[in-house]
């Protein structure tokens, strides 16, 4: 089937052939991939003869793929396109990421879900607090240079966590990050009230 499609491609502009090569090799640095995009999308259906077909990856399968990535990749995936953004925002994916490191305390996980969802969700929890736990806390500058919206309240706790990120987060780390999340939630709430 692919052979048949290849014949069609030869008759098209040379650019398309180059495009196919780009797709197959995966990671070319040139920006030419943009040029033939429109065509690729239209004909990529079903057989995927024109492109690899991944352009047509539907939301469900994309969700399944994203279950296997780490937090940064998930955040990066959320910036790719509207479909990817929608899928990467799914709280269940972020819950997986947040709880991956949790020591296996079952009841903790169940209680965690309702609390975290009420306070803003797992994605926010991760992006504001847990991502710092994953980074090696080698210097104070790492916590202050990261997103300006992130809490400065994390600063004083960094030395307590130590220079090595814990491979398993126990109750203490969980409680700490939940406390910070709830403080932030209430701070925001107060700001809203004052504004009225």
């Amino acid at each position: 089937m692919k052979r048949a499609m290849a014949d069609d491609e030869v008759t098209e502009k040379g650019e398309d052939k180059k495009m196919k090569k780009i797709r197959v090799e995966g990671e070319e640095e040139e920006g030419e991939g943009e040029g033939g995009e429109g065509k690729g999308k239209g004909e990529g259906e079903g057989e995927g003869g024109r492109g690899s077909g991944f352009v047509n990856l539907d939301e469900n399968l994309l969700y399944e793929v994203l279950k296997h990535v780490d937090a940064r990749t998930l955040a990066s995936a959320g910036c790719v396109s509207k479909l990817w953004h929608r899928t990467a925002q799914d709280e269940r994916l972020w819950e997986l990421i947040c709880t991956r490191h949790l020591a296996n305390i079952d009841c903790l996980k169940q209680q965690l879900r309702s609390v975290v969802l009420a306070l803003g969700g797992f994605r926010r929890l991760y992006s504001l607090f847990l991502c710092h736990l994953s980074k090696p806390q080698s210097s104070g500058s790492s916590s202050s240079s990261s997103a300006s919206s992130s809490s400065s309240s994390w600063g004083p706790f960094a030395p307590m966590i130590g220079s090595k990120p814990p491979t398993r987060w126990g109750k203490d780390e969980v409680h700490l990050s939940l406390s910070l999340l709830s403080i932030r939630y209430y701070e925001k709430m107060n700001v809203n009230n004052r504004g009225r």
Partner: protein, 153 residues
């Protein structure tokens, strides 16, 4: 009533009209086919219009390897690693087939492989790999970037 006779043959036909005959034990690695067998629908050739011959052959090869009791754990690991060394087109076909046929072990491996392709990549790189169109307006993109800035430092 499910028959677990190992000498029962299941016949499959791919989208490009290639036929394959496999033992039932091999076929039922696919939950989809297993359900058909259990429901008694597997007596005639089963048409698989969403899977082409090349991919179906690969999937069946995988299933055969996994029922073969003579294969050691190490051999199986190596087999699985080599199996997924594919170009994107085949990988996509395999993903669709493994999903449709619901071959759990294979599907997990393929999903992991696809995930590995995007690990650590920036959004532009991911778009390039999969030829995805950036359908954000510049304002939207900026907003989303800010939201996810923590992931990019």
């Amino acid at each position: 009533m499910s028959s677990s006779k190992s000498n029962k043959i299941v016949k499959l036909e791919s989208s490009d009209n290639k036929t394959f005959e496999v033992e039932e034990a091999v076929a039922v690695q696919s939950e989809t086919l297993k359900n058909m067998v259990d429901d008694g629908c597997a007596n005639d050739t089963i048409p698989l219009p969403n899977v082409n011959g090349k991919i179906l052959e690969m999937v069946l090869g995988w299933c055969k390897k996994h029922v073969d009791e003579t294969v050691t754990g190490d051999e199986l690991n190596k087999y699985e690693a080599d199996f997924l060394d594919l170009d994107q087109a085949d990988l996509y076909g395999l993903l669709m087939a493994a999903n449709f046929l619901n071959v759990k072990g294979l599907l997990d491996r393929v999903l992991q492989r696809v995930a590995d392709m995007i690990k650590g990549k920036k959004p532009e790189e991911i778009r390039r790999i999969f030829n995805i169109k950036n359908d954000f307006t510049p304002e939207e993109e900026e907003e989303i970037r800010l939201e996810n800035a923590w992931a990019f430092d």
